[in-house]
Symmetry: C2
Amino acid sequence: MIKERTTKQKTLILSAVQGTKTHPTAEQVHAMITDVAPNLSLGTVYRNLNRLAETGIIRRISVINSPDRFDGDLTPHHHISCTDCGKFCDFFEINYDAELDRVIEARSGFSIAKHETVFYGKCPECKNKELN
Amino acid sequence: MIKERTTKQKTLILSAVQGTKTHPTAEQVHAMITDVAPNLSLGTVYRNLNRLAETGIIRRISVINSPDRFDGDLTPHHHISCTDCGKFCDFFEINYDAELDRVIEARSGFSIAKHETVFYGKCPECKNKELN
DNA sequence: TTCTTAATAGTAAATATTACTAATAAGGAG
DNA sequence: CTCCTTATTAGTAATATTTACTATTAAGAA
């Protein structure tokens, strides 16, 4: 019995997210693919990104003053957002503490699937601009 | 010279956020006040919440599948979001590690003002519903 | 009390995301 | 290989969230 179909669009969307480190928004993913698939619909991008994120194949990140971003890198890591220019970066050098999830589970009664940490501040470039 | 004026609306909005633990969205803050100030405009709520959050008088929290939420409690703490029903709770029992911000600063070149951590999972009620 | 102008209400617009539907196409069955 | 079911899509409309704009109001300094 058919469950999920592999479409050209789905493949392109997943490849786009997995093939970049830019944490693109849905609209950016759409823009990345329209040269290969000119009439790819933005709705299709949203639908597939949502499903991929729910399945856990990609990560969805919610950021203040930004549309949701998507990350194909499942390696546990954190993110940094520049509150001036919106630049959005990975930060790998601090370990993601999966044990935290277990602690929260035990004390809150929730079953925790994951946590997302975003650091907010000013990137080096925006810090410099400030000095003028 | 005048810089910022204390208006009735501003006061009501701040009190509303500080007087609840429900982490209301802008629209919820608006609803909380309209009985006292029937023609308070939603735009005014957004404008004031944004400013209060920028100033650091309240916290803004960005959550997957939810409009932004606001928290009047500046005590460092984390949040838990139920991915089924959207319930949104505080979690105080794990310390907010401000030292993390300094580590990220040193290694990334950003100046970090804060970080926000949200745990995602299922609340006790939604876990039970699942068993039917 | 007057006067300047920050802030508001009300509305329109922009941005972000989801819903709907006829048409398309994936892939199992024959 | 062809047919058939139906998951998926393109295109569009609708909704949700947030910001922008402007005439009017009102905070608070002089």
